[in-house]
């Protein structure tokens, strides 16, 4: 579980950076032709150096001067869609990064995801677009990069692997009741932990009931597949607190009886083999005398012959 958390976190971070970088590049390549500069996205300042690093500057200045004929241009409606997509994308990516550690993405970013998904669907299933070319074709499928598609798919993958849908209700617009209940239980445990911060032995004894209930709730939800990364992470941290920080481990105090029973068991075969060696009758084989040709030609003679 810890592994999962760590993995997701790292990949989320990596991806967020990567995505933002790409937005910048995309923005640069589109804006000269159609978009006006104002509608360009507000890029996080940290990312700008990355785009500046690119050595394509001379290429841009070239492309600025050239325009394509009307029918190949992206129409305005589509440009608007693109702009909204960009905004929502940034909002969502920003949210993901903000709540990456400790993981709270499902609780905080589901609105962002839903709106991004909406606009993506709008673009993909766009039928009512004025003009001949649908926005789906002109925005998503006109080049081999297929940027909008790739960007969305990556984020969608993250969302799926985080299993956030399992924590939300059926309409995906709020946290489910089970999730809320779990959080309430978790908070009880945590407040209990806080209460006994000083004395760990006390804590182990007194918070045990609430901790146990938390475990039960978690176990039940796990069985019903109602866990998402948020809950897993929270539980992970709690378990870590409980076992590693407060050292509420079960004592290994039965060593003597276990050793006694084990050595008794190990002793049995020795008795068994000894007794069967001493008491069981040894199995004997009766030799049979095979009939051979007269002894004159038996092995003995041949042996003599050779020696």
């Amino acid at each position: 579980m810890e592994l999962l958390t760590r993995f997701t976190f790292v990949s989320a971070c990596l991806f967020a950076e990567w995505a933002v970088t790409f937005i910048a590049v995309a923005n640069c390549s589109i804006s000269p032709s159609e978009m006006n500069g104002d509608s360009a996205l507000k890029l996080p300042s940290a990312v700008i150096p990355v785009s500046q690093k690119s050595t394509l500057g001379s290429f841009y200045s070239l492309s600025l001067s050239s325009t394509f004929p009307e029918d190949l241009e992206v129409n305005e409606y589509c440009t608007e869609l693109l702009r909204i997509y960009g905004q929502r994308y940034v909002t969502f990516a920003n949210c993901l990064v903000t709540y990456a550690r400790p993981v709270r993405v499902c609780q905080n970013c589901y609105t962002g995801f839903n709106s991004l998904e909406d606009i993506y669907k709008n673009i993909s299933f766009d039928k009512s677009a004025p003009g001949n070319v649908s926005c789906h074709d002109s925005l998503m499928r006109s080049d081999r990069l297929m940027l909008l598609y790739t960007l969305f798919i990556k984020l969608d993958e993250i969302w799926t692997s985080a299993e956030c849908k399992q924590c939300l209700n059926e309409d995906q617009d709020a946290l489910s009741n089970d999730t809320l209940y779990f959080m309430a239980t978790l908070n009880q445990s945590l407040s209990c932990f806080e209460q006994y911060q000083r004395n760990h032995t006390e804590l182990c004894k007194d918070c045990k009931t609430s901790y146990k209930r938390l475990n039960e709730v978690y176990g039940r939800m796990e069985k019903n597949q109602m866990l998402c990364i948020d809950l897993e992470d929270a539980m992970n941290m709690t378990q870590h607190l409980w076992s590693k920080n407060f050292r509420c481990l079960l004592p290994r105090e039965e060593t003597v009886p276990v050793i006694a029973v084990s050595s008794f068991m190990l002793f049995l075969p020795i008795i068994f083999y000894l007794s069967s060696f001493l008491h069981s009758e040894q199995k004997k084989r009766k030799l049979i005398h095979p009939k051979r040709v007269k002894s004159s030609s038996s092995l003995m003679n041949i042996q003599d012959k050779f020696s």
Binding site: L250, E254, L268, S276, S280, H289, L299
Partner: protein, 795 residues
């Protein structure tokens, strides 16, 4: 002294009689003969040891001046084993039948052979599937119960109760399996691979291919694997496949007394043995998901009788078997039609990019191979002594059951103690590969790493050793586990339960191989190619298995197929070669040891290398009991019912003179044929009355196959004893013969290549002087100081 023929006199007792080994004392021999022939009706002078068999009554023992008794050891040949009649008897009945059969008839036969092979594959796959599911369910219940119990008592205290519960559950499962094997069908014990090897070699092991054996085998293996013994279910699959083949091809079951009246043509040893090789291949293929490996296994074990069409049919059977298993398992797993989960043991995929290897790793692999050879030899040596002890002292069924139960209990105890005292805690995996993670004293969210190895069926443990990411096991855990499991596995193999040695060997090897990989990555600090211990686990598993069973070609292919990665073919081959070379230096393979200890007259692929000076004259049994072409019924009955010398083949001579001059050979007739003849009363005097009856056909011989009635059950009246019987029609008119001067390797080659049962030795006037059988050849083997000779013994 170029060749020393050393007599082996293995006597645990004093040397009072050890000096005079019975094979040498010809004088004494003659004395017995006189005594017996003086006794009356038996023509002892013509008796030979063709195929001596079974009971010699106590009275005769006394006459034989107390035959020497020695403790059981490996240098014996048992009398209870006979050869298969692989060679076809081309008598007149056979020729007639062939003449009657149309061209279409032969076509149909060929088609029927294919149908049978398909059926063999199908049924074998089905059985494999059944075993798999049953084991999974039973082991699941057991581990679930124990896990709940352990969890409960970890908190409350009283873990020794969990220990006892585990031990009792194990023992109970194993008890059922052991009782079935020990009391109902002892031949079903062990993996069955030695027995099938013998059968393919041409030895008829009593009861080995019966339906009852199959049932006990399947039941036994389910019990022993579910009982948590250090065993696998793969070896028994091979045996099961063979039994299925032998049963299906005959179209009837004598155990159930049911005859389906189909496939009657195939009721002979020749056909049966071909089908059994197909069955064994199907078994391997179902067990490992390795159809080619299965074919090669049959090829390796039964290589002397082979042809192209047969190979192709065997391959068909193996493919069908894998396919069937896949199909039914896919239904069981709820994905009907998905055919990509092959084999009982699924090693999982080794993706080629995650576990690539480099040229500089080859020496490491070879070192691991050598290590595997040494460990395998150690395994075999310990198991050899243990098996001798078991044969000598633990031969009563109730003792055997008790032993098996004790082993089960101790296995549980050792596992529990290991888990209890292990401090190796690992975080629960991302994909939760552990079926039954035990927390015990680990922190919440972690599990006991020792428990993944011990608290699991062996197959799963192997898989987790192969595939779990680096860092899942710490070195100490692996070391302790290897040690404990090694001894448990040595101890377990040879118990009276049906169980195989493949999986435990793989598990031991995988454990130390993984350890090796981890240590390597410690030494070479760079995290490059060394990092993946799963690769070394695989190589270690191959080395250990190769060191124990010493199979070569087929094992390589099986492992390559089971891992689904051809790029590993080369290292696996190297490792198996090294393991075999190193291991053979110490002791032979486990299966060969067990074949020897069962005193089977097994013919290896070649005669002993220093045996060219031995001629057929020394090898053969002599004198030979012969029959005349037209023989008196009374004499035939007497010879057949002589219990002291049960022969199975009798040369038919033109005319035996009274003064014991050997006659000229004109044919060979088998005991089974004579019995059928006597049963149908085919006497010359009755020929006239028989005209009204139906003429005897080959079918009558086949109907009696494979269990011909004993001679005692055939009643021959005093009048009939005076009748004559004409054997001309029924004998094999052209038996293979060799002159007396033929060397042993020549005789051996003839035997091995043609699958002979009897080879008549003649002098230069074509008179019968002796008879060579399998036991006459198998008794020579190369020991520590040159050629040695094995004793014949009753077992």
């Amino acid at each position: 002294m170029a060749n020393i023929a050393k007599k082996v006199s293995w006597s645990g007792r004093g040397d009072d009689r050890g000096e005079r080994t019975p094979l040498l004392n010809g004088d004494e021999e003659v004395k017995y003969n006189r005594q017996l022939s003086g006794g009356g009706i038996f023509h002892i002078g013509r008796l030979s040891t063709v195929d001596l068999e079974e009971e010699i009554t106590p009275e005769e023992d006394i006459v034989r001046s107390r035959p020497k008794e020695i403790p059981h050891n490996e240098k014996l040949l048992s009398l209870k084993f006979e050869s298969l009649d692989y060679d076809n008897s081309e008598n007149q009945l056979f020729l007639e039948e062939e003449r009657r059969m149309s061209h279409m008839g032969f076509r149909c036969l060929e088609i029927r052979r294919w149908v049978i092979c398909g059926l063999i594959g199908f049924l074998t796959g089905l059985i494999a599937c059944m075993i798999d599911i049953a084991v999974e369910k039973l082991a699941g219940y057991k581990y679930f119960a124990v896990k709940l119990n352990i969890e409960k008592y970890t908190e409350l205290g009283g873990l020794s109760i969990s220990l006892i519960l585990w031990a009792v559950l194990n023992s109970a499962f194993v008890m059922f399996g052991a009782i079935a094997v020990a009391f109902v069908e002892p031949i079903a014990a062990g993996s069955g691979i030695p027995q099938i090897k013998c059968f393919l070699n041409g030895v008829k092991i009593p009861r080995v291919v019966r339906l009852k054996t199959l049932v006990i085998k399947v039941f036994g293996v389910i019990c022993s694997v579910a009982g948590g013994l250090a065993v696998g279910k793969e070896g028994p699959m091979i045996h099961s496949g063979a039994v299925v083949a032998a049963g299906v091809s005959q179209g009837r079951s004598t155990s159930l007394k049911k005859d389906f009246k189909i496939f009657e043509y195939f009721r002979r040893d020749t056909e049966k043995r071909d089908f059994v090789s197909a069955g064994a291949a199907a078994g391997v293929s179902a067990a490992f998901g390795a159809p080619v490996g299965g074919v090669l296994f049959s090829l390796e074990e039964g290589a002397s009788f082979w042809n192209q069409m047969l190979t192709w049919r065997i391959f068909f059977a193996s493919m069908v078997s894998t396919f069937t298993l896949n199909f039914f398992l896919s239904i069981y797993h709820g994905k009907p039609g998905e055919l990509s989960s092959p084999g009982l043991i699924n090693f999982g995929r080794f993706d080629s990019d995650s576990v690539q290897y480099n040229l500089y790793e080859i020496p490491l692999f070879i070192i691991m191979g050598a290590l595997g050879g040494v460990l395998g030899a150690l395994f075999n040596i310990i198991n050899y002594w243990l098996t001798i002890f078991r044969i000598r002292y633990i031969h009563r069924p109730c003792l055997q059951v008790m032993e098996a139960m004790l082993v089960a209990a101790v296995t549980a105890t050792v596992s529990f103690a290991m888990i209890y005292f292990s401090n190796d805690c690992q975080p629960l995996g991302q994909d939760n590969t552990e079926e039954y993670p035990l927390q015990l004293f680990c922190a919440d969210g972690e599990y006991n790493s020792m428990a993944t190895a011990f608290f699991n069926t062996p197959e799963r443990s192997v898989r987790s050793l192969f595939h779990n990411p680096p860092g899942t096991y710490n070195p100490v855990t692996l070391g302790v586990f290897t040690l404990a499991y090694f001894f448990l596995a040595v101890w377990t193999y040879g118990l009276t339960v049906s169980a195989g040695v493949f999986i435990p060997s793989l598990l031991i090897g995988a454990a130390w191989g993984r350890l090796f990989g981890i240590l390597l990555s410690f030494i070479a600090s760079s995290q490059s190619i060394w990092a993946d211990p799963g690769k070394y686990a695989l190589i270690g598993a191959a080395a250990q298995l190769g060191g124990i069973v010493r199979m070569t070609l087929s094992l390589t292919v099986i492992l390559v197929e089971a891992t689904g990665n051809v790029t590993y073919g080369f290292p696996i081959m190297l490792v198996l070669m090294t393991a075999k070379i190193v291991g053979d230096y110490f002791i032979e393979g486990l299966y060969d040891i067990h074949i020897k200890l069962q005193s089977v007259p097994f013919l290896h692929s070649d005669a002993p290398p220093t045996s060219h000076w031995l001629t057929a004259r020394e090898v053969m049994s002599s004198p030979v009991t012969c029959f005349n072409r037209v023989e008196k019924v009374g004499r035939i009955v007497d010879v057949l019912s002589n219990t002291s010398t049960i022969h199975n083949g009798f040369p038919v001579v033109a005319h035996t003179s009274e003064n014991d001059e050997p006659g000229k050979i004109c044919g060979l007739i088998l005991r089974s044929q004579l019995i059928v003849l006597l049963k149908h009363k085919v006497f010359v005097e009755r020929a006239s009355s028989r005209l009204s009856q139906r003429k005897l056909q080959l079918k009558d011989f086949r109907d009696a196959y494979p269990r011909f009635p004993p001679i005692q059950s055939i009643h021959v009246s005093q009048d009939e004893r005076e009748c004559m019987m004409d054997l001309t029609e029924f004998m094999n008119p052209t038996p293979y013969t060799v002159p007396q001067e033929t060397s042993l390797p020549r005789v051996f080659k003839l035997f091995r290549a043609l699958g002979l049962r009897h080879l008549v030795v003649v002098d230069n006037e074509n008179r019968v002087v002796g008879l060579v059988t399998r036991k006459d050849l198998a008794r020579y083997h190369v020991g520590k100081d040159g050629l040695e000779e094995l004793h014949l013994a009753q077992t």
